[in-house]
Amino acid sequence: MIMSPAKTLSRFRDESTRFLHAVARIFFGNARSALGTSVLLFFILLGIFGPLLFPYSSEIDVTSQLLRPSIEHPFGTDLWGRDVFRQIVVGTSDVLSIAFLSALFSVAIAMILGMLAGMVGGIFDKTILFITNVFLTIPSLPVFLILAALFTVDNPVTFASILSVFSWAGMCRAIRAQIISLKERDFIQICRVMKMSNVHIIFKELLPNVGSYILINFIIVMKNAITGSVGLMLLGVASFEPTNWGAILTTAKNSGALINPNSYMWLFAPILSIAVFQLGVILLSKGLDDTFNPRLRVM
């Protein structure tokens, strides 16, 4: 049977829309993930377009120190007379990139090592397992402190690298376990019989199967990265842009904002932003879990 090019084309178009539908179904499939995705999208858009809509000036203005919230300054102003709302907006991209990069790094490390360990096995597997064991044992916060003293932490990349040092180990183990169980499955054996390349086996057959797990973990690591980065800010070991949410929180706290009604909003704004962002991320991960799990159970 010969197919006309038009039909083939339409089939591919069908497929791409179907893919989009699938993505939409995953992310908007239930109330939780829909809400979570919306929150995340909101912050991403805020990070990209926010600074254009609400341009931020770092200029200090001693006459408008610590103003209470108003229409002009929805979150009030800080000690230096700068608009807190615009600070939050400008800081969004920084926070997002720290979270995203940290998740990217740890997922990449976890994936590479976990898949290699699962695929290669033997002494390599044992070594990786042992290393993850060490990283799971040493308490992370103290080592963050030491690492932050050791390296200059002054941009999202270094920040994210330090944060991901400890977040890959658990995930690496889980991926390894999944790969080990997957690679004995029949459909992988068939690939061997059919002499499919290892590249195909890893990227086309194995990866899609751990994809949902990785996606959910990616989101969880993002959440942990934010918690960790703000914690490090609170302990004051990283260099920072004053607009970073953690930095705003720390400065507000150290300026006695906890006891000054005029500056409650200065302190509360970053807490609120962090909480809402985290909330979105958690809802999304839970929603994704709901979406993927029933099918995973059928397996």
């Binding site: 049977m1 010969i2 090019p5 179907r18 068939i190 059919m194 499919m196 199967n209 059928v298 397996m299």
Partner: protein
Amino acid sequence: MKPLIELKGVNMVFSKRGSFVRDEKFFHVLKNVNLDIREGEIVALIGESGCGKTTIGKIVTGLLKPTSGEITYEGKNIYALIKLGKEFDDYRRFVQFVQQDSYAALNPVRTIRQSLEAPIMTHYRHDTREQVGAKIDSLLELVGLNPPDQFLSKYPHQLSGGQRQRILLARALSLDPKLIVADEPVSMIDVSLRLTILKLMSDLNRRLHVSFLYITHDLATARYIADNNRIVVMYLGEIMEEGDASEIISNPRHPYTQALIAAIPIPDPEFADLDRELPIKSMEMQSLEHRGKGCPFVPRCPYAGSECTDEIVPVTVGERRIRCARLPHVPVFSTIRPGIVRTGGSNS
């Protein structure tokens, strides 16, 4: 007819690594197996679970390398081919595998199209997308999935067991193989559907001249698919008896084959109240770890004698080979189980 694949003196030993607290263990899974599969024939490999039939399937498909012995493909040793590269690729293409669990054999997160496309695109690199698409369509039609469009974008869990099994066959056929190793392909689908799948297989065998190595524990289906072909009976990693299908079923000569056939339930009230005791001595089974050179069936065999513990030379009777040292002492099957042969024969 010249043999397509030949296993010569294949032995398979699995070992469990030892340590300070544990000795190393060896399991002799296959012992001196000789098997040949000719072009365009269906060979049914029968044996109870754990007898090594799946291992043979894996050896034939190249998933496992035997500990000793050689496998030849069209007269050439395939492990010598590996070094030549290209010809092993051919071997990979020409010998395909259909597994027992059709759900596990398909990647759950890939659509049927993706699962079918990948091997074709690997092995027929010069095909355009349209050609591949057309090929897939015709394959699906071949295995009786009509219209193909209805199945292509589905995921495995959206199909029934029978449909998935057809997909597996289509995938195996997609590389134009000369031999398909089918490892219990129907054991996990409804009895009502089994027949259609088996029919499809013998149909494909006839139309495309593809050889099948049909691995099963179920004598009835073996008899059905290997009609006019061969049956090979295995026990504990050794081939007990092999020969023409109808001959073996109507007149099993080896005590193990006799026991196997006697175990088939008889849905005929005429024979239902016959003595159903199996013609074996005990249920004791030889361990794979410590096995002698003699017949493994000795502990169960009611006819066993002292010579059974020595090396056994198969007796060849025409096309048939029986591996039994005390063949003259084994009674003719119809004397111990009258009626079975007739019933089995009338089913076809």
